[in-house]
């Protein structure tokens, strides 16, 4: 099976004043379609940098990134935006909903940005609202929603463009245990339907739920449960 993600020789260096920080070094990684991967490690280990890189929000200083067989590191910013729009869904720790937009409008936002026709948007938003149990919350603004509802809106938004993968950065970090469990269950259900799920967390319990664990330390991949097995 062809890899969905193929990273080879990735380097990411930040310059903080005079000192150089190696956020990622010599990173080689393959992730196949449909995988459920947890990226773990202490803070500063480079796991968020890896996620930004996978989400095309950041560029490596060296190395190549092939997404679905296509080298995406050399794309122009406009082409990268297009790939983000069609293939990648983000779920953030702090939800990142637009406060002035309703739940329905927040879910529709990626489609609005992509220029999808209003009728099609309407159809998909309605289905998403039903799927995520938000039907009676459609016209509520984020400040009128509970944390769990907000994250459900964010997940609906991340999936509404039917991406190949979902990148989740500490998706339960701002939620209590019960709602966190509920959100993880939702993401895992998505994964079971075929979407590649990559979760960044420093919670070992949460990480152990994934079929594959990556352990990062000082910008290096210390442990990969797939190669160890």
């Amino acid at each position: 099976m062809d890899a969905l993600i193929k990273l080879s020789g990735i380097e990411r260096i930040f310059h903080l004043g005079d000192s150089e920080v190696h956020a990622l070094r010599h990173l080689d990684l393959r992730i196949h379609p449909g995988e459920y991967v947890a990226v773990m490690g202490p803070s500063g280990s480079g796991k968020s940098t890896l996620l930004n890189l996978l989400g095309l929000l950041d560029r490596p200083n060296a190395g190549s990134y092939h997404l679905e067989g296509r080298d995406v590191t050399t794309l122009t910013p406009e082409e990268q935006a297009r790939v983000r729009s069609r293939r990648i869904g983000f779920v953030f720790q702090s939800f990142h909903l637009v406060p002035r937009l309703t739940a329905a409008e927040n879910i529709a936002l990626p489609m609005t940005l992509a220029g999808i026709a209003p009728a099609e948007r309407q159809r998909r938003v309605e289905r998403a609202l039903n799927d995520y149990g938000l039907a009676n919350r459609a016209s509520h603004r984020p400040n009128e929603l509970s944390g769990g509802q907000r994250q459900r809106v964010a997940i609906a938004r991340a999936t509404v463009m039917q991406p190949a993968m979902i990148l989740a950065d500490e998706p339960t970090g701002n939620l209590d245990r019960a709602t966190g469990e509920e959100v993880m269950h939702l993401l895992e259900t998505l994964n079971q339907s075929g979407v590649t799920l990559i979760v960044v967390t420093h919670d070992a319990v949460l990480g152990s739920r994934a079929r594959r664990q990556l352990l990062m330390e000082d910008g290096e991949l210390r442990h990969d449960s797939a190669s160890a097995a």
Partner: protein, 402 residues
């Protein structure tokens, strides 16, 4: 992003922060309103003066003693030394010109009028029967000076409405004998009240036959000869004919100045037109200031919405989309401000017209269009920098902000 979605997004973003947006709209509307009101005032002044001068009479050619090289109206014209007198005979000769319909010689001076122990300083105008027609004036009572030989004249006077009120009060004025200077005149008519006006106020005048006025002021020369041409087209012809006649009578020397009413009007028109432009320019400065405010407010908006911009990028928005969204917001706010300012300006001009009905305070179309246009252009122009800054934000850093 589709255009309607873009505009809805920009509108929501603008209304999402009402204080910021309303401040911006207010600044823009003050700028546009200032342009509309100030140009309405300037252009109103121009129209007012032009109207007042038009009401002196129509198709007028004015002959002044003395030569002045400058064309048009010149304050020096009225105080130049006269080498040769401009006489009543000169005026009479002008009647021969084919393009001339009427001629009204005029002389002026100050004197005192007294009646029944009341004494008052007055402007005395020496005129002929034609004066009232040439100047388009009207009488309230009695009749005007009789037609007849310009070199003689009965001791009859026509007085202004205010003089009548002050000297006679409620008593009848017609037929009364008054003393003007050292002469006695019989009042034969009272001019209709003209009220406030430029150069045509007859309320405080005493009009006597020109020959008697000249004798009174011991002078042969006329202050002015008003010549009415046959028609508007005949004005230029009348002007050359009149100049030619005077030249012949004055041994070939052109020692008079002949100006047309049009030239006077054109001068005032230009002068006050320039004034209007100047105030429009001053008002436009407030538009530039509003433009800078647009930039400032939009820059603050970009800073406040950094996380949102990062999110939009993560959701697949290109730099161009974000740039367009911010530009659309700036344009929309500027447009709202411009429209509001236009309404404020027109309302203010309307109120001015209600308060001073004689003053035609209408903003000229060019000023309104220029004001609206400048508002939009500055709004968009000053919106470019913030929009570009937003588009260039690094998504990773932006998303890290809360």
């Amino acid at each position: 992003m589709r255009a309607p979605d873009l505009f809805r997004f920009a509108r929501d973003a603008a209304t999402g922060n009402p204080l910021r947006s309303s401040l911006l709209v207010l600044a823009m509307s003050i700028g546009v309103g200032a342009v509309v009101v100030l140009t309405a005032l300037g252009d109103g002044a121009r129209r007012y003066v032009v109207n007042e001068f038009s009401s002196i009479g129509t198709n007028l050619v004015i002959v002044l003693p003395g030569r002045s090289q400058t064309g048009g109206f010149n304050p020096g014209n009225s105080i130049t030394n006269t080498p040769r007198d401009l006489t009543v005979d000169d005026a009479q000769a002008m009647l021969r010109a084919s393009a001339v319909r009427r001629v009204a010689p005029m002389t002026v001076g100050t004197s005192e009028i007294s009646f029944g122990g009341k004494l008052r300083e007055v402007f005395v105008v020496g005129a002929t029967a034609e004066f009232i027609d040439v100047r388009r004036l009207s009488l309230a009572q009695g009749r005007f000076l009789p037609t007849g030989d310009w070199r003689r004249g009965a001791s009859e006077a026509v007085i202004g409405a205010k003089i009548r009120d002050e000297l006679f009060g409620s008593e009848p004025a017609l037929g009364q004998l008054v003393r003007v200077g050292d002469r006695r005149f019989r009042i034969v008519g009272v001019m209709a009240a003209t009220g406030q006006g430029l150069g045509q106020n007859t309320d405080e005048l005493v009009i006597v036959p020109v020959a008697l006025a000249q004798a009174m002021f011991n002078s042969n020369t006329l202050f002015r000869i008003l010549v009415e041409a046959n028609s508007r087209e005949a004005i230029e012809r009348a002007k050359t004919q009149v100049a030619e006649i005077v030249k012949q009578r004055h041994e070939g020397e052109e020692d008079v100045t002949v100006i047309t009413q049009d030239a006077v009007l054109a001068t005032f028109d230009r002068l006050l037109g320039a004034l209007t432009l100047a105030v429009a320019g001053i008002a436009a400065i407030s538009l530039a200031v509003a433009g800078i405010l647009v930039m400032n407010v939009m820059l603050v908006s970009v800073t406040q919405r950094t996380a949102e911009i990062g999110l939009l990028k993560a959701l697949g928005a290109t730099g161009a989309t974000i740039r367009r969204a911010f530009l659309a917001e700036a344009a929309m706010l500027s447009l709202a401000g411009a429209v509001l300012g236009y309404l404020i300006g027109q309302t203010a001009a309307f109120l001015l017209r209600q308060m001073y009905p004689a003053f035609p305070a209408y903003a000229p179309d060019w000023a309104v269009l220029a004001g609206l246009g400048t508002a939009l252009v500055t709004g968009i122009l000053f919106g470019v920098l913030p929009a570009r800054r937003a588009a260039r934000l690094d998504p990773v850093e932006s998303l890290a902000k809360r």
